[in-house]
């Protein structure tokens, strides 16, 4: 999976949880400041991402994921199951 593939699949999750249009879910966007996503919805996004990408996102890592790009990079590094 390329980073772009991860981004596209991740954007679908963000839409599913927070109803943010996938077309504006771009790497530089910040979850809180740009999308107004609260901490509970971030947990939902992380859980859905774990299911979709087959990775583990511990709570300690979640708080460091400030932007969409941070999340995509974390998922890519954690080793995406094809």
């Amino acid at each position: 999976m390329t980073d772009n593939d991860i981004l596209a699949a991740f954007a679908d999750i963000v839409y599913e949880v927070a109803r943010i249009d996938a077309s504006i879910v771009t790497p530089e966007k910040r979850f809180v400041d740009d999308f107004d996503i609260d901490s509970l919805s971030m947990v939902e996004i992380a859980t859905a991402a774990e299911d979709k990408f087959g990775v583990s996102i511990p709570d300690s890592a979640l708080s460091d994921l400030k932007t969409v790009g941070d999340a995509v990079a974390f998922i890519a590094k954690a080793g995406v199951a094809a």
Binding site: R19, L40, S41, E44, T47
Partner: protein, 207 residues
């Protein structure tokens, strides 16, 4: 000691008769009933075969994100509060002088049951992080309080079927005590589900 006058400036309701206060009132004056047959398959074995379910789905008046994060009882509370707030002319008020007292007798029981299924079938990590705010009895009050930015207090006096009436009485008291100038108050419930129906029937509280 003089008693402060308190007036009602706005009304809202979504009921078995209609999705708004004004349409509910017209239906009441026309003598219509909100009771209807329960023809869903899940109701087939229940001892009671009718209920007064909502005339309009609350999600019809909510954005998708709000609808997704709220329990159905909270959706009803928010829809009715929105209508009341608009009916009052969308008051321009200091949030520190605005309170909410919205009650429920049971609250988020359908969320509780749905999340128990998620726990049993998919494990603890698949329980929604929104579960607690959706099942707590003050959840409808909290949802309305957040939506209207009420900071003079957000309360939920729970007293069975009298909960909504008690909420209105407490709203009156808050204004008379000088703790708020405007209070959004009322009640909401969403218990048309096989378990609550079976439970009320078991105590012979349904006809």
């Amino acid at each position: 000691m003089t008693v402060r006058d308190v007036v009602v400036t706005g009304l809202g309701a979504t009921t078995p008769l209609a999705g708004t206060m004004s349409a509910t009132w017209v239906a009441l004056l026309d003598g219509l009933s909100g009771a209807r047959p329960l023809d869903a398959p899940w109701a087939a074995d229940l001892p009671v075969q009718f209920a007064a379910s909502a005339a309009e789905e609350p999600t019809a008046r909510l954005d998708a994100l709000t609808a997704r994060t709220l329990d159905r009882s909270q959706q009803f509370a928010v829809v009715a509060a929105d209508e009341a707030w608009a009916d009052a002319g969308t008051p321009d008020i200091d949030p520190e002088r605005l309170a909410v007292v919205v009650s429920t007798g049971i609250g988020g029981i359908t969320t509780l049951l749905e999340q128990y299924d998620a726990l049993r079938e998919r494990g603890a990590r698949r329980v929604s992080p929104h579960t607690v705010p959706r099942i707590m009895p003050n959840g409808p009050a909290a949802a309305v309080g957040l939506r209207l930015n009420a900071r003079a207090g957000v309360h939920a006096p729970v007293s069975a079927c009298a909960s909504g009436a008690e909420a209105i009485a407490q709203g009156l008291d808050l204004i008379r005590a000088g703790r708020a100038d405007v209070v959004v108050c009322g009640g909401a419930e969403a218990v048309i589900h096989p378990l609550p129906l079976a439970a009320f029937a078991a105590m012979r509280a349904l006809s």
